[in-house]
Symmetry: C2
Subunit: 291 residues, 2 copies
Amino acid sequence: MDEATAFAPGHVTAFFAPYPDDDPARAGSRGAGLALSDGVEATVRRVDDADAATADSAADGGLAGLELDGVPAEMEPVRRVLAELRVVAEVEVSSEVPVGAGFGVSGAAALATALAANEAFGLRRSENDLVSVAHAAEAAAGTGLGDVVGQFRGGLPVRLDPGAPDHGRMDGVPARPRVEYVSFGELSTERVLGGDLDPVREAGEAALARLLDSPDERELVAAGRDFAEEAGLLVPEVAEAVEAVAAEGGLGSMAMLGRTVYALGTGLSDAGYDATACRVDPTGATLRPTE
Amino acid sequence: MDEATAFAPGHVTAFFAPYPDDDPARAGSRGAGLALSDGVEATVRRVDDADAATADSAADGGLAGLELDGVPAEMEPVRRVLAELRVVAEVEVSSEVPVGAGFGVSGAAALATALAANEAFGLRRSENDLVSVAHAAEAAAGTGLGDVVGQFRGGLPVRLDPGAPDHGRMDGVPARPRVEYVSFGELSTERVLGGDLDPVREAGEAALARLLDSPDERELVAAGRDFAEEAGLLVPEVAEAVEAVAAEGGLGSMAMLGRTVYALGTGLSDAGYDATACRVDPTGATLRPTE
């Protein structure tokens, strides 16, 4: 097989308690979120050794070229995944969710690339192994701390421990609601994750304790809404939208970390927003079957 | 909500090393299998307290009535799930795969019942909690030792440890092949699991070590085929079908524990069998969304 394609769901973090670590497989966060049926597809195409030498792609960490929605782009976690797997490939990424807006596109691209590369190159790695490679690539690149493991599990994933599968236990909220979202633009994950993490961690731990006490989808979003306020992460347009949803009896919050509001059911359209509707993705990241 | 429906995939165990335990949450098996897109649906319908008293269903462990494919039936793991969740309900189970033939129908029914009951009664249990309840119900009933956790994960699940989610780590083989199967009738799980388990455990451990060394779908089935021979579990019709598949260049084995043969791709139809075709289920057990 010369190429393979995999899908990873978009992942909106409801709340999180960050735990950085020098070991990227142990770095991560506790918290919870929503895996969405809107997500990211990555197609990995083998580049043979002769072409690779010409393209000088050994120095390029195994990435012979990357397009994001048809345009040449840089995605450091994807480059790190291919380097770690010791393969040289071209990668085409297409995203149904906006980039840089809190949907974990970089993590989804890294995870889908790992699954597709395993298939295209016949690497015979296990799922935990591939998830670990993608999680560590994302943590080392500084682009996220918990999306990858949530995107692999699917549903409404709860991260009981930080880190890759060998280190981090997971649970989930067994509900599959409809979700709406509106995005107002980008917000720098690196900037927020580079600041003082103590208040974020404290608010995140409180939100997780609350959710585990009563795990359902409304508690997940409500705990996320209080977390966003307590951690001081709310941005003005999102705060306004969250209030507008509540005024109509709905429940919404801010995607961590993005200038994005999401709501259960028809919360945003009821409040007059031109929202995108999707569902909770029940499956998690998976190889696209070939016939 | 008065009722809810959940799906759990059929699960063919390729090989297993059984580890019984007095604590049904710790009892289980190490091993690997295939979650199938053909599976089991359970609809749980609330019975209110007045009706429950009339039906004397408190003594009946919470099960006010069960139909399997439209016919009144007994399923002890389902009864145990409702008793453990302390709810009284009617349950309708429908199965796309044959019962008693190695597809884990009892485990699938228990797991789908747990997920649907959580939704219908608003129990606010987490996914791990519901999987544990279903796993323990199945282990206590003596009807299986590893289907439930595999059915929750989906894909090609690998059980690294025995037991429910709090005790047992899992991994998976990241492939999603087409699968064919033919069933020749029932085989008693209880009878086999009641015999001498040492040779089965030894063959199961060898098969698991082999798969973990090179995790792909062909190794999974080939390790299962050797396990079936070494553990002395092959039955004549199945052995004949496995050989017929191999003679055509295909790869198949016996479903543990059932009088059933399965094969990758078109292995059984190539060998002239009138086989049922399905895919590996990527999702695992999940609530059916309501709109």
